[in-house]
Assembly symmetry: C2
Homo-oligomer: 155 residues x 2
DNA sequence: GACGCGTGATTGACGCGTCAATCAACAGAC
DNA sequence: GTCTGTTGATTGACGCGTCAATCACGCGTC
């Protein structure tokens, strides 16, 4: 019966599509990360932080706000920021209104690197993703992602 | 802010689909990894190694063959195997025909864990992926992955 | 003003991944 | 036999990510 069948092991076809989906995604992310590193010297993580800061009021954010903006755990940020600070991309300042808090500030160098990285990032999105797909393909990618995403959300 | 379309710069729509694609993929992988860890106590990496070994002749492989089967770098394997050995999932033996080589052998415990993990793995593929998609959605996922994959290959 | 609790942020331990360097053993040329 | 270059595999340094524990401050209550 159908309900019963749906609960079982995926078919060979379904498994094949799953594997394709996962492996392709992995290769694309890895290609993106590698090319960003080579072309601009920063990682995807760095880029996410720089992006969030560049869009913030005064190019500065409380570190928890930064974590929220990038969908990161705070502890991940606490590990990552010292590495970026060491390279002069950001600096941390004490928060005026809350002595517990820290503010993360985009440095001039960080802004410069970010602008450069953005161009590379957009170029790579086109090279790796957009150029690979027809307009219908892009629409399909949207539908598939939306379906998967909605299913995850509703879980 | 005026958005001037330049060669190489994706449109807002294209960017949105890209972001959806990447973020959804990330969430699915992370959900898979987390659930596997919780339900079976092993990571995706462990699973890949156990899978390759379980399919091998005599449930043993030269470590380079194992690396190839899992599409891993050898050094990654060299770091990973001691962790798995410590937990009794595999053991390493000297290779009879080549004194440089090592053979990785699936232990009885490793096989037991693998069988259990396989069931969980298949179940999760259905829960996270197959159940989210209609048959047409599955076909679309295949087409999109194939197009992206082919584009990457041809790059 | 002292106590208790929630919250902002960091730390340490550990797993995971890549890269470059290393080391040991093989294989062919001489 | 011994060079020489190649191959199988490991190591160390470092970046990255999560989890649990911790520290420091803010704030309401008494």
């Amino acid at each position: 019966m159908e309900i019963e069948r749906r609960r079982g092991t995926p078919t060979a076809d379904e498994l094949r599509v799953w594997r394709e989906y996962v492996e392709t995604g992995e290769r694309i992310r890895s290609a993106m990360a590698g090319a960003m590193q080579r072309r601009t010297g920063i990682s995807s993580g760095d880029y996410a932080v720089l992006l969030a800061l560049s869009e913030a009021e005064g190019r500065r954010l409380r570190s928890s706000a930064l974590a929220d903006a990038a969908h990161w755990e705070r502890s991940r940020l606490s590990h990552h920021l010292p590495r970026m600070e060491r390279r002069g991309l950001i600096r941390r300042e004490d928060c005026a209104t809350d002595d517990r808090g820290a503010e993360v500030v985009l440095s001039a160098e960080g802004l410069r690197v970010f602008r450069q990285a953005s161009a590379a990032h957009f170029g790579l999105i086109r090279e790796l993703f957009v150029d690979a797909l027809t307009p219908e393909g892009l629409a399909q990618a949207h539908e598939v992602s939306a379906a998967l995403s909605e299913h995850l959300r509703a879980r």
